[in-house]
Each structure stands twice: as structure tokens, then as C-alpha cells.
Symmetry: C2
Subunit: 312 residues, 2 copies
């Protein structure tokens, strides 16, 4: 039985593990910071892969990473917080170096693959995954098939317009879901209202985080509660759109903001159930959170390798 | 070589044809009104099928029809303008009567299948179809697979919120694309502005149609032009969302409003190209109109039969 090398490369850290061909119990596992004084991110990544290289024959390397990328060629178009990786042929470079097939996938897509096979989405055929943290990312499986699109750029569920002319999104457009309901967007909204003189136990400032706002909301601060209600209501509006578009049987939420519980989910569900156009869309619909936590990317990379190897 | 009976059942008329198993040249073809003084729509449908029944062995009956339906069971949940068909087990009733497999599909989905195999979408793997007429309907093919969703209710592309709190949609929700950019929505907008006293060559009234507005726009009427610009801009905003969600290589437009040409497509394209978040989404993207015209439903029903029969 061979092994798969799986990796989850983020802006802050890289995680690499060797897994048995058909399982998810690591044979070896290593973590390292993505940026460091010595060597390029690619060089450190190669070192990390060598460190977990197992005695078993390696059948493939499978990588989850952020940002727009081409899953067919394994080229990273741009990686958030890894400025070296612009139009970077990661798949090709790794395949040359290690002499095995390399598969590269978007981290949100792969997190969904992981949840589908090993986590909250087992047994479902039509799933939506939405991760709400610094940004808002998405993944969709429809009819047991991952939605990729022509160039692998599909499922950018954070980048739909929920409020025309609304707040500026990090992508440069206005009024996107990510510009209203992500963690930084929640903090920005509070800062803006504080600047207008609204009373609150929160202090304005660039260091204010969605987590601070959640703490204040739990202590009863009306502004903090209103900020989460606004974010949740727009998420609910967008979720109604996504139900009409995809008609899933389950929606899985991940990311830091999803851990704020009823603060975000109560207004989300209220808006969603009000705005869905037919009860058929919510009949037996499951709304839940991720089960795999920090391992979703690694496990999803394993599922990606299993799917790609079985289609050879 | 056997034959397929294909049908396109609308609120106004029913079209039925017998086609060779692997072709789209009709052996026989019949049209009849859906509503008539004598007999139920189902009885007239059966009569029409009998009228085209060929000498060849019939391998399947494949039906395109409007409205929410379950493609797995062939049950119509509700059919616009056919009040008799609420929770109507059309597939089961036809299979009992004729003793052959029956496949039932949403007309927009099947129009896309037709365009994909025989029309404007040939050779593409990731397609969006959007039909703009009395309502706004959609179909999506992603990775060569029709998007159906858990209950077959997916791809309702007219029912996403493009303007929170906006005009009332026929579905009961507010601010949906269909409530702003469909034919009746364009006429309603003109009527509302005329009621405010705006000057125009158009006369207000319930009989005013999007076609009347298009004629006035071509004669230079500013209100009529503004009405199409508004509809086109919101379509462009929604299309940017759909590109971020599906990353297709082609978008095919159908329906009466799409025949108004640059009146709707100029503002649509302006808004789309401004609101897309990365040039990768529009690189080599094809925006076009349907090729099959009124035959799209019948031809799509044939493709549905071919796909379902080949997966047996």
C-alpha cells in the first residue's frame, strides 16, 4: 500500500503530512511558518515534504492552498500573503523535483471535499460550504461533482453583490457579501458607527476585531449585537440566493465568524427562511458547521488525490 | 432504430414530435393549445402523443415543461398557467398509459441541454443559459453535468436578490432579478415613472409591454431607453455574480427580451465588465443568444432522453 503526501499551504503556516493511500491517519506530520528569514516559501515547502517523506512509495503529492489557481495545471495565479507566488507553477515545480503526480486545489474546495468524505457532509450529494473569516470563501458539490468552472475559478461565494454600491470589498468591487459579513467587515462597521459618536463599550481603532465585537455583544452591547445582526442578515439573503441556485441538502459553515454561534446564525436563519421562495428549498435542509476543523485542508487534499488517482 | 417522443408543454401550447433515436429531424410533429373547452390538459396531451406515435418502436417519452418539478419522479409541483397540474405525477401517468420510460425536465434546463448538444453551446463544458421573457429562468451545465440540485430545484437564476427591498417578484420575494429585468418588470417600471408625470411617447396602462418600450426606445424616447438600461445594468450585476459562482466559458441568452439587442446588451455588458472581480472570468468568455429558437425545448427533451437512456 502506497502513501500520499498532503499539504495545506496558508499565508501564515504550511502543514504537510504523509498519509496512507486510503486513510487519514498521518504516518508523519510537520508544520512550519510560510515566511521565514531564510529561503523562499517554495524551498521551505520542499524541505518540509522531504521531512515527512515515508518509507512507503509515494503515489502523489496533493496541495491545498488559498487564492485563485488553476487546478488543471497546478499554477497559482496569486496567493494571499505569499507575494512570491504570482503565476507560480507550483504543481509543475513539485512534479519536477519529486517525480510524482502533483494535484493542487483551492483550500475552500478541498475543505469541502474533506467534509464530504470524512466530516459533516457524509452521505450528501449536493453540498455548499461557506467559510467566514478574514474573507468569505466557498465550495460547492453538485451531483457528487466538485464545482470548478472553466478555469477553476468557480464557487467564489463571497463575491456576489448583496448591496449594490455598498462597502468596498478587498477584491476592489462594492457591496459583495465579503465586504459586509466577513470578520474585518464586522469590525469596520463597528468602527464606522463609533466614529459617528454611537455609545458602546467598544473602543474604536484599527486593532478592533470581530472577536472583540462578539465578546461585547455577549455582554449586551447594542452596537456589537447590531453589527452581528447586520452581517447575519446579509448572509441569510445570500444563502437564499445560493439555495435557489444550487438546491443543496446541506450547508456547512466554517471559519472564525461561524464560531460566534447564535450571534451570527440567529439573524442568518431568520433572513434565510423569510427570503426563500418555496418551502421545498428548506425542507429537511441541514445547516451545520465543519467537523474537521484545522485538518480540513489536509484531509481534503487526501480526497482530491483519491479522486484524481482513481480517474487515471 | 427506435424513436423518441419529445414534448414541450407550455401554458399556451403543447408541441409534440416523434424523433429518430439519434437525430433531431422530426418524423411527425403536432401542436395544440394547452387550454381548450373540451378535455383536461392531460387528456389532450395524450391525444397529441397518439397523433405522432410512429411505426418505429418508441424507446421513451421525454417532456420539457415549465415550473418547479421533480426530475427524478416526473412530478410537476406547479405549472404556470396549467392550474390542473399541482403535485401532478405527469411522468407516472404517462408511463402507465404508454408503457415506456418517461423523463420530465424543466424547460430552461432542457433548452440548455439542446443548445449544448445541437446549438450555440457545442463544444463547451461549463455553460450558463438565461432566458429573459415573462419571467427569468436559468440553466447551468458545469463540468459536462446539468445542475439539478437535491430536489431538481436548482438554477433558478432569476430569483437572486439584486436590490434588497426592491420591487415585488411574482414569487413573493422582493428585489429579485426577475422583478427588475423581466419583460413585465420593464413595462411596470415605465408605468410607474409615467404615473409620476415623466414625459414620454409611451401611454401608461396595463397593456403596455416590454416590446412597446423597446419600440419607443428605438425612436429615441429617453424614458424607454432608461428602462432598458436599468434592466440591463441589473442583469450585468447578476451576470458578474454568476461568473464568480460558475466560471463558465459561455453564457447563452434566450427569451423575448434578449431579442431587443443592444438596448439590453450594451448596459448589461458595461455593468458586467465593470463588476467582474478578475479579468480571468471574462477572458475568452462568449456571450451569445440561442440558436435553436422555438425548438429548443423539443431538442432539449431529445438530449435528456439520450442522456437518461445511455445511463440505464
Amino acid at each position: 500500500m502506497g502513501a500520499i503526501i498532503v499539504a495545506d499551504v496558508g499565508g501564515t503556516q504550511m502543514r504537510v503530512a504523509a498519509l496512507p493511500r486510503d486513510g487519514i491517519q498521518p504516518i508523519k506530520h510537520q508544520i512550519a511558518p510560510t515566511q521565514a528569514p531564510k529561503g523562499s516559501p517554495f524551498e521551505r515547502f520542499v524541505t518540509l515534504i522531504n521531512a515527512v517523506w515515508p518509507d512507503e512509495a509515494v503515489e502523489a503529492i496533493s496541495v491545498a492552498t488559498a487564492g485563485p489557481l488553476d487546478p488543471k495545471t497546478g499554477t497559482i495565479l496569486s496567493a494571499p500573503n505569499i507575494p512570491e507566488w504570482i503565476n507560480f507553477p507550483l504543481g509543475e515545480r513539485l512534479a519536477e523535483h519529486f517525480g510524482v503526480p502533483v494535484y493542487v486545489g483551492n483550500d475552500a474546495n478541498l475543505a469541502l471535499l474533506g467534509e464530504w468524505r470524512y466530516g459533516a457532509g457524509q452521505g450528501h450529494h449536493d453540498l455548499i460550504y461557506i467559510t467566514i473569516s478574514t474573507g468569505i470563501g466557498g465550495g460547492v458539490i453538485s451531483g457528487d461533482q466538485l464545482l470548478l468552472g472553466h478555469r477553476g475559478l468557480a464557487a467564489e461565494l463571497g463575491h456576489i453583490t448583496v448591496l449594490p454600491g455598498g462597502p468596498l470589498c478587498p477584491c476592489g468591487q462594492r457591496g459583495h457579501l465579503e465586504a459586509i459579513s466577513s470578520g474585518p467587515a464586522i469590525a469596520r462597521f463597528v468602527n464606522e458607527i463609533l466614529a459617528e459618536g454611537e455609545a458602546s463599550i467598544l473602543e474604536p481603532g484599527p486593532g478592533l476585531s470581530a472577536r472583540d465585537v462578539a465578546k461585547a455583544a455577549r455582554r449586551g452591547d447594542p452596537l456589537a449585537k447590531a453589527a452581528y445582526t447586520r452581517a447575519g442578515e446579509f448572509l441569510g439573503q445570500a444563502m437564499a440566493d445560493f439555495l435557489h441556485i444550487f438546491n443543496p441538502s446541506i450547508v456547512i459553515f466554517g471559519g472564525g465568524v461561524s464560531r460566534s454561534g447564535s450571534l451570527i446564525f440567529d439573524p442568518l436563519k431568520d433572513a434565510l427562511y423569510k427570503q426563500v421562495m418555496d418551502p421545498g428549498y428548506v425542507k429537511n435542509l441541514i445547516l451545520t458547521t465543519t467537523k474537521l476543523g484545522d485538518d480540513a485542508g489536509l484531509i481534503g487534499a487526501q480526497v482530491q488525490a483519491q479522486i484524481r488517482l482513481s480517474s487515471l
